[in-house]
């Protein structure tokens, strides 16, 4: 995103730290959709995701004066969002989580032939991406959709950079296994 130097995210955070409500609106407009999608992929509930992004940006309002500009604002936002989402998942009853998980993977009960008839390869690939574990979903999204570098993912997830690389590798490997179970052999791994 190209931005006028006067309105970079960092400048907005500085204004928010001084209680500038308009700066908060601009920052929210700029980032809320991506933050929402990141949270939604983790909690799998639209209403919960909406509640959580309000909480994320409220934290920004409250803690803007602590932001030190060592990382991108979007990285900071995703780190807060991840923490809120995981805390929410931790509070949820197991039964509720199981039901959501079952909904997400219900189509995998199809035989490979039926699945191939019903959907094209791209659609199956996306479906398999939703069936990954939360840990694997988040790293796939951070790298591919949120365009976060190895260092930024390490900061958001709170793991060493080497672990970021291997976790991404295993997420992709798991994805290939899910695809194979759906009758799609990619020749890797």
């Amino acid at each position: 995103m190209s931005a006028n130097p006067a309105t970079t995210d960092e400048v907005l955070i500085g204004r928010i730290a001084n209680g500038d409500r308009l700066a908060m609106q601009v920052l929210f407009a700029r980032h809320h959709v991506r933050v929402y999608r990141f949270v939604l992929r983790l909690v799998r509930n639209e209403s919960t995701a909406e509640d959580l992004i309000s909480e994320v940006f409220l934290d920004v309002w409250r803690q803007a004066n602590k932001f030190e500009g060592r990382s991108q604002v979007s990285t900071w936002l995703l780190a807060i969002a991840r923490f809120k989402a995981l805390s929410e998942l931790r509070r949820k009853p197991e039964q509720e989580l199981d039901e959501e998980m079952a909904e997400a993977i219900e189509d995998t009960s199809d035989t490979p032939e039926v699945a191939l008839e019903k959907k094209d390869k791209s659609e199956i690939l996306r479906k398999c991406m939703t069936s990954l574990s939360a840990e694997h979903r988040e790293i796939i999204d951070l790298v591919y959709y949120h365009e976060k570098s190895v260092e930024e993912v390490a900061e958001i997830v709170g793991i060493p950079e080497a672990t970021v690389k291997t976790r991404m590798f295993y997420a992709r490997k798991k994805l290939a296994e899910l695809l194979k179970a759906q009758g799609i052999e990619r020749g890797w791994p």
Binding site: N18, G19, R21, M24, Q25, F28, H32, V33, Y36, R37, L40, R41, E46, A49, E50, D51, I53, S54, L58, D59, W61, R62, Q63, K66, E68, R70, S71, A79, I80, R82, F83, K84, L86, S87, R90, S122, L125, R126, M129, T130, I140, D141, V143, Y144, Y145, E147, K148, S149, V150, E155, G158, P160, K165, M168, F169, R172, L175, R186, G187, W188
Partner: protein
């Protein structure tokens, strides 16, 4: 030896393919990957799989839509309900602890470290409170006993999530009956926690570490030898 080195290099390059596809590698790594792709057909075929995943991950996320106006309305209703910001006080304990911790550890850890440091202050207050209360109750309780009780047991090293608040960490410590006995270590920002008052078998301590790691408050945790 050469074959082994080539294999390691190839595996190393393969790990970077997702970031190469997303365009988020450094210039140096980009050159390494491009050179490897030009000379290795199998790696190039695998890169096509990565590009396919990248495209579908974007399509999947873009299909998720956007939040309703309710999210923004809720946010600004909460902001309006926040107390009006006052000018900085001449002395703020939390700011002072934050500055102190930031001077010892990477700044990215400052928020979590601040919260953990405050949790330590709170714990220290509780310990002092208990000590004073015990002293008032009778002379048989000495400070040596308190120190001794903290020096034995089973310990883990822990790095708190930078987003964890004081209340999150306090809740975490209470839930797990853990006590902060040291830290943060310069550089790593790791704290030492006592998780049991006796030395546990390695397997049992490993199970505790695994359980603690599930908590979102925790960034990283490993077993620790007795201090």
């Amino acid at each position: 030896m050469n074959a082994k080195n080539n294999k390691e290099t190839r595996e190393d390059i393969e790990l970077l393919l997702p970031w190469h596809a997303a365009g988020t590698l450094s210039r140096r790594d980009t050159q390494r990957v491009e050179q490897a792709l030009a000379n290795d057909n199998e790696l190039a075929a695998r890169y096509e799989l990565v590009r396919e995943e990248l495209g579908e991950a974007i399509r999947l996320n873009e299909s998720l839509g956007a939040p309703s106006a309710r999210a923004m309305e809720t946010l600004f209703a909460k902001i309006d309900a926040e107390p009006v910001r006052k000018p900085r006080m001449s002395f703020s304990l939390s700011a002072w602890v934050g500055d102190f911790v930031a001077s010892l550890s990477p700044r990215t850890l400052a928020y979590g470290a601040t919260a953990a440091a405050l949790a330590i202050v709170l714990q220290a207050g509780l310990i002092a409170g208990v000590f004073i209360k015990e002293q008032q109750a009778g002379p048989q309780l000495a400070s040596y006993e308190q120190q001794d009780s903290l020096s034995g047991g089973s310990f883990v090293l822990i790095r708190f999530n930078p987003q964890a608040s004081v209340s999150d960490i306090t809740r975490f410590l209470q839930d797990n009956k853990a006590i902060v006995v040291g830290g943060p270590a310069v550089g790593s920002g790791m704290y030492r926690l006592r998780v049991a008052d006796k030395a546990l078998p390695q397997a049992e301590l490993g199970a505790i570490v695994k359980r603690l790691a599930q908590d979102p408050v925790v960034g990283l945790t490993v077993p620790s030898a007795q201090p």
